[in-house]
């Protein structure tokens, strides 16, 4: 229709570059420059380190040869691939059934189950792992369930990762499932297909891209996660912990750079494959589609409720055990209750200051990140002309997704602490943590913003342009209010992730900027599991409170800004 023509116009008719366009380009250029400094240059610093020896001489592929010929190092590649594949299969299967129950059954308490399933998002990945030790360790109360196997090792890693990535996978599958056309089911039924046949011919094909996408996301998250294997990995080495070991234990930054490059490979492959598949995905929902509405079936609903209850109990149990363990005096010999483990001043990790720093850092990340990312997305989506710049931007914003946090953190040390770098003054400050975190979570936030912006007709821009209203007024008066829900979602996403992230910031914090999530790691490392659990609980409570606030705000603001959506 009309917008399509408007879209094509710049290519055909030479668009006259107005002063307004220069402002747009200026801002877009500034954001591109930010991404250049925040991701491209640090990555270059990291990659070049992999081809150098300790004194900075170029050594070609020597470091890589050493990596692949040292069995203790190369073994980690196989280990990482193994546990990531197993965990991915398990978590996608579980999340699939859970999502199926939430979208295709008539069971009760759907909202409750949905809420419970999202709890792990509020945790640093270290926390489920710590809980697993209290449950399944030598002194665990569920250890007998392992039949003599050890929690420390692949079993523990798989269990921890499944819990950690469950909500991420669930959300993707649920979105795929909610886009189904009831008419297909009616057709299937009237053609005489039973429920099983319908499942395989209608349901599965309809969500196959969603499933594959969920699989890739899970795989990438797991192979790059460092919290779970760090805590329960035992002697089972994986790439993510190897980066840490090389850097922290052996001060071998060159080898650390090599391992983090090896870690980049599966992440990039998964990412590229996902992008290609996304393009193949065609709209299932046409204008004539009828949303699927499940019909009650007592037996099926009961089975689904039982399944969700089981998964729900595990998730709530993980959080409950962490809370309980943080309140117990001396596990397992003295189970009387105490708040002593919440006195962080005597422990590693920076005490309560680290908690306050985390809240500060997360708030800054949410505020600044949302402004930068949303503005950037707006300009990429709505500005005219300047195709090369916009294309470059689109490439830049995708990069952070493919870079594991550990690699990013390491890259930041090399880049920002270089004495010749004019940005050197940022090193060891809170702003560098904010920059790093915004960059780390840039891609998903950007995509959220783009999705919201795509729903707004480009006519708004055209109309205001013809009325001689500058674009920034349209942006402020039309675009931003319409996109309030998406903006809140982005700031929420940034805040929660900034609270829970460990991997990138573990190399960057300083005495004044110790963070709560890193404190969990350090306290666990020092064997202070109860205090580690206590700090983990504080993070969950804070992220949870932010989520509640988000829910209240969304509801309130949506009523005021989204009334136009209703007729």
């Amino acid at each position: 229709m009309v917008p399509a023509v408007a879209h094509a116009a710049p290519a055909v008719v030479r668009h006259k570059v107005s002063s307004e366009d220069w402002i747009m380009r200026g801002v877009l250029g500034a954001i591109a420059l930010y991404l250049l400094v925040a991701i491209v240059l640090p990555l270059y610093a990291l990659l070049s380190k992999g081809f150098q020896d300790r004194d900075g001489n170029f050594t070609g592929l020597d470091n890589f040869t050493e990596f692949f010929t040292t069995p203790a190092l190369s073994q980690s590649v196989a280990n990482s691939l193994t546990i990531s594949s197993i965990s991915t299969v398990i978590v996608v299967s579980l999340a699939f059934v859970y999502a199926y129950a939430l979208t295709r059954s008539c069971m009760a308490f759907k909202n409750l189950f949905k809420g419970i399933a999202l709890i792990p998002i509020l945790m640093p990945s270290l926390l489920p792992a710590i809980s697993l030790i209290f449950m399944f360790g030598k002194q665990g109360f569920l250890t007998f369930l392992l039949f003599g196997n050890e929690i420390y090792g692949p079993i523990g890693i798989v269990m921890g990762e499944v819990i950690y990535v469950f909500p991420h996978v669930l959300m993707i599958i649920m979105i795929a499932m909610s886009m189904s056309d009831a008419r297909l089911y009616e057709a299937s039924q009237s053609l005489g297909a039973g429920p099983v046949r319908t499942f395989f011919t209608v349901t599965l094909p309809g969500i196959r891209y969603g499933l594959v996408s969920a699989g890739f996301v899970a795989f990438t998250l797991i192979i790059t996660d460092f919290g779970v294997p760090k805590v329960v990995g035992g002697q089972y080495n994986v790439l993510a912990t190897d980066v840490y070991k090389q850097v922290v234990g052996r001060q071998d930054f060159e080898m650390g750079a090599v391992v983090s490059m090896v870690l980049l490979v599966p992440a990039i492959i998964a990412f590229a494959a996902d992008r290609i598949l996304q393009r193949k995905q065609v709209a299932i929902l046409t204008a004539r589609a009828v949303p699927y509405a499940p019909t009650p079936s007592p037996r099926f609903d009961a089975i689904m409720t039982a399944f969700c209850a089981l998964v729900g109990i595990v998730i709530v149990g993980i959080l409950g055990v962490a809370m309980f363990a943080s309140l117990v005096k001396f596990w397992p010999y003295n189970l009387s209750l105490t708040l002593a483990h919440y006195d962080f001043s005597l422990r590693d990790g920076g005490g309560w200051d680290s908690y306050i720093n985390s809240v500060k850092m997360a708030s800054w990340t949410a505020v600044i990140g949302t402004c930068v990312i949303f503005t950037g997305a707006y300009l990429v989506e709505k500005s005219k002309g300047f195709l090369a710049g916009r294309a470059a931007m689109q490439f830049l914003v995708m990069m952070p997704m493919a870079v594991p946090g550990l690699s990013l953190g390491l890259a930041y040390i090399f880049f920002f602490n270089h004495p010749d770098n004019p940005l050197n003054f940022l090193y060891h400050t809170l702003p560098i943590l904010v920059i790093c975190t915004i960059t780390h979570f840039y891609t998903v936030s950007h995509l959220t913003a783009i999705t919201a912006l795509k729903q707004i007709d480009n006519e708004f821009e055209s109309v205001s342009a013809s009325l001689k209203v500058p674009f920034y007024k349209t942006f402020w008066r039309v675009t931003v209010p319409i996109c309030v829900p998406a903006i809140l979602d982005i700031s929420m996403y940034l805040f929660v992730n900034a609270m829970t992230t460990v991997s990138a910031v573990v190399f960057l914090y300083s005495p004044d900027t110790a963070l709560a999530s890193v404190a969990v790691l350090n306290m666990d490392d020092a064997g202070e599991q109860a205090s580690a659990a206590a700090m983990g609980v504080m993070i969950v409570l804070t992220a949870g409170a932010a989520r509640l606030l988000h829910a209240v705000l969304t509801r309130g603001l949506a009523r005021r800004t989204q009334a136009w959506r209703k007729r």
Binding site: Q75, Q235, G249, D525
Partner: protein, 346 residues
């Protein structure tokens, strides 16, 4: 419009509340001190030092030996620290070889035992404060469950009865772990020591990243036996853990918590003040509260729950040899033991 105004106000006031600046303490010199001393002792040291030097404000960067060393290494091109304080002498020597430090003889150095500070450079680049000594933590409750006898020697730990019941720190990530390995090699000689570690390896349940963790795990009953260090053991025992702390009869490894002033520090005066203070009797008495062996002779009193006779069991430690051979030993160790699931390579 009203809504947006409100939002802006909320955001603006939020920004003000968050305020990035730290504020306060303008007149004082901020001394950035990198340390590996356990977190629960730091505030005590800070208070005692600042009472004597009120115009200096200590800022700690506290982490485990491995992390502090790697942080320092990472910042080699552009050091941030003013002084490194309470870090393993072996680590300081390694950093010293990179030209990290400047020599300084603190006032009163002559009162220290010559064993405990740098004898290669004059003035010394590093000065030891107190010794941190290997020990074995043994959980009596868990040992009872598995009917494990109390080990008294390193050799005991290789007996089949302890299979899967021993944890030690990975020397590649923990200073304590390296201290153990280096002491075994110095005690037994290279060949015998690796044979010993082969035998021990079959009994090890897993290697940890931190040196204090094995003892804390033993204290919590996660494992009956943890190879760790005496201070951690005593601390856990004082907290009520059912553990015995053992100093194996063959001799035990140790390292020195030491300090060294960073070469181009902007706060040289304050760094030297801390160095001077650190070799005073007052400081030594504080060191002794938790550690049994300090650098000034005649000060140390026995510390509660330290294994008896620990002083006589300390090996003759050749720091220079350890620092020089560190990477070689770590690589060899990694190739032999780092992946437990792998078949062992000889």
């Amino acid at each position: 419009m009203k809504l947006i105004k409100q939002l802006t106000t909320v955001a603006a006031s939020g920004l003000m509340v968050l305020g990035l600046g730290a504020g306060g303490a303008f007149a004082k010199t901020n001394l950035l001190v990198y340390t590996a001393i356990e977190a629960d002792e730091l505030s005590m040291f800070k208070k005692a030092f600042e009472a004597d030097y009120p115009d200096i404000n200590i800022k700690w960067v506290r982490d485990s030996t491995g992390i502090v060393t790697s942080k320092l290494m990472a910042e080699k091109a552009n050091p941030k620290a003013d002084i490194v304080w309470g870090l393993a002498a072996t680590s300081l020597m390694m950093l010293g070889n990179e030209g990290y430090f400047q020599g300084y003889a603190p006032k009163g150095l002559d009162k220290l035992d010559k064993l405990y500070y740098d004898q290669v450079n004059n003035p010394p680049q590093w000065v030891g404060q107190r010794a941190w000594i290997a020990s074995v933590c043994f959980n009596t409750v868990e040992a009872g469950k598995y009917k494990l006898p109390l080990p008294t020697s390193w050799a005991d730990l290789t007996k089949p009865v302890y299979k899967g019941h021993v944890i030690m720190p990975n020397p590649n990530s923990s200073g304590t772990g390296f201290l153990d390995v280096s002491s075994w090699i110095q005690l037994m000689g290279e060949e015998k020591a690796w044979k010993y570690m082969d035998a021990l390896h079959t009994n090890i349940a897993r290697y940890t990243h931190s040196g204090s963790k094995p003892c804390k795990l033993a204290a919590r009953g996660e494992i009956p036996i943890g190879i760790s260090f005496a201070y951690r053991g005593a601390k856990s025992k004082n907290a009520g853990a059912p553990i015995e702390i053992i100093a194996p009869i063959e001799g035990i490894g140790w390292d020195l918590e030491s300090f060294a002033i960073v070469k181009n520090t902007k706060n040289l005066k304050a760094a030297r003040a801390l160095a001077d203070w650190s070799v005073t009797k007052k400081a030594m008495v504080i060191y002794n509260r938790e550690y049994a062996v300090v650098a000034m002779p005649g000060i140390a009193k026995p510390v509660k729950n330290f294994p008896p006779g620990i002083l006589s069991k300390m090996i003759k430690n050749d720091f220079a040899w350890a620092a020089k051979n560190r990477i070689r030993i770590l690589n060899k160790w990694r190739d032999r033991y780092d992946a437990k699931s792998e078949p062992k390579k000889k």
